[in-house]
Subunit: 348 residues, 2 copies
């Protein structure tokens, strides 16, 4: 062996690879989007980094959004991958203030999936479509060999009609606006994790999966100053707030005492060493709303079953732009950052 | 052990499971759709069994279609999964006579995929979008743990605008209509299989993946009697013809001598024991066209690069409804049926 080669080895080029954290909804997800996707596909729609595009066709504004669902296990308290696949896409349409109309569904099935399980998933999708008033109008099914998938992955893509003329987008938050949260956080993520880890609590934790378009319609009727709506799914409330602060170049100050967490969710988070701020929700929304109508919006929300626990949890500020700061329960304050890596893989 | 149990065992209930053949585009795919999907979701759009839905929003007719791509290997002569994902969905819009406008893309990445490979796939998607004149406006990325996926699956869903007033659908074929095929068959499937099986021929077989919307626009300009357009992908020409015969309750008679197969594709099929009629295409279309303008349509198609080898390959008949019959090269005739099971798994 050449001694020179040992003392001065050539740098070994490591192949950069996709890691679980790239799908977490945290900082690694953001990196992948900014470094790999946007440089190639950047356009006026994608660059907004909203969860849906609003396009205009023949003078009609349409919301268009896609999501793939890879949750494990397929069935969990409060729902299954089918419920999620419908409600998740309905909600991404709703967050543009759109009325959801049509869905497509693409299935990637692993050889060996029981047809009974597939049937149960499809039954859930049908029920969720009926509840949300959307029609599944086109679909596709692929099968991959055993070991090349994991039972069932579902993509749903949705079209909704935008019947108002406002721009609801992540970059619309202004200092003085209020931050509204529609209810408790962490329910979905902890329902899935409890099932996955075989945890049992006195109270069963159920996913909060639900279609939010009616709640949104109620909110929009009552306030012309809704700047932005977003559902805090993967990466939880913390990630959503950071995305909003970043897109609008504002600071967000939130109050820990205003953020509701169910006791069982709190206990499960403690047990697993997780912060509920980073745990996924599937039936909650965050709204940035002009100060003048924030209280009225909350009042309207509370009259709807899915907004019964709504409250103002903080406000938008000029201070510390692009950062989220939380006043803690014990009177201090802490920066709530994007999670650096992988939080809860395959939670939706 | 109880002797009675041995002599008279309880019937063992086999769990029905998803098999590779359910994704083949043949009879098992049709069974899965008819027995599992349609009973739950049947509606005026899905029941047509077209490769896209045409919905009306605000007085505007829109085509809407989804496809997931799970091809293995990711890269093959003539294209890769990214090229396919764009062209495949563009073509399903084109088959409704729609002008493709917007795409969504949903990625399911397996932990460990090289970012270089992902970048190359995205470069192909960008190039294909530019070629087809469509804009990728919304997306989603999920990551699954190693062993739960296979490098990269892509769903694309597309919206196009239908600017004519005809109904192009599988049930519109009438006796006397002509069957037109736009070019050679089997190129895509054999390009993928050659790479997968490590076969080498004197001539490299390249995938025919291409966007067909311009060819379709040319055809529609020239003929008001186009009944139906379909691209013979999974399951090949044989499956597409059977679907059309079934949906329209007509017989189809085709002429083997009119169906062009490249020599290298023919040789590869012989080697693998495959019939090119069942092998996937990604840049070809079948048109059912009224007799009066069939020749004019073929002439128009031949002036377009992607229709240079177009020809009338047969006709629609009242005889043997729901069946496809081929006059063979040696003067006999044979029934071309749906393939009973799995043909070429993961070809697109």
């Amino acid at each position: 062996m050449d001694a020179a080669a040992v003392s001065c080895p050539l740098p070994r080029t490591e192949t950069a690879r996709v890691l679980l954290g790239h799908g977490s909804g945290g900082r690694m997800s953001a990196d992948l989007i900014h470094r790999v996707f946007l440089p190639r596909f950047g356009n006026a729609y994608l660059d907004r980094l909203d969860d849906q595009a609003v396009v205009e066709i023949g003078g009609q504004r349409l919301a268009f959004t896609t999501d793939s669902f890879v949750v494990r296990p397929l069935f969990f308290p409060g729902g299954d991958i089918g419920t999620l696949a419908v409600n998740g896409t309905v909600n991404d349409l709703a967050m543009a203030g759109a009325r959801p109309l049509y869905l497509s569904a693409g299935f990637i099935l692993e050889e060996g999936l029981s047809l009974d399980d597939l049937g149960a998933i499809l039954d859930s999708m049908r029920a969720a479509c009926q509840r949300a008033g959307v029609l599944l109008v086109t679909g596709d099914t692929k099968v991959v060999n055993k070991g090349s998938g994991d039972q069932c992955f579902i993509n749903t893509t949705g079209i909704g009609v935008v019947e108002h003329s406002w721009l609801l987008s992540a970059d619309q938050a202004r200092p003085g606006d209020r931050v509204i949260l529609s209810g408790t956080i962490g329910d979905h993520g902890m329902a899935v994790m409890s099932r996955r880890e075989g945890l049992e609590f006195d109270t069963v934790i159920e996913s909060d999966t639900a279609p939010l378009h009616e709640l949104v319609a109620t909110m929009l009727e009552g306030c012309p100053e809704i700047r932005c709506l977003r559902d805090p799914t993967r990466g939880g409330l913390a990630s959503t707030l950071n995305e909003l602060a970043l897109a609008s170049s504002v600071g967000l100050e939130i109050d820990e005492t205003r953020i509701a967490v169910r006791p069982a969710v709190h206990a499960a988070c403690e047990l697993l060493g997780l912060d509920p701020l980073y745990v996924a929700n599937e039936g909650k929304l965050v709204a940035i709303v002009g100060e003048s109508c924030a209280d009225a919006v909350v009042e309207r929300m509370r009259r709807h079953q899915l907004g019964a626990d709504a409250s103002v949890i903080g406000e938008v500020t000029e201070r510390h732009p692009k950062m989220v700061v939380m006043r803690t329960r014990i009177g201090g304050s802490r920066i709530v950052d994007l999670h650096p890596g992988e939080i809860l893989p395959r939670i939706c």
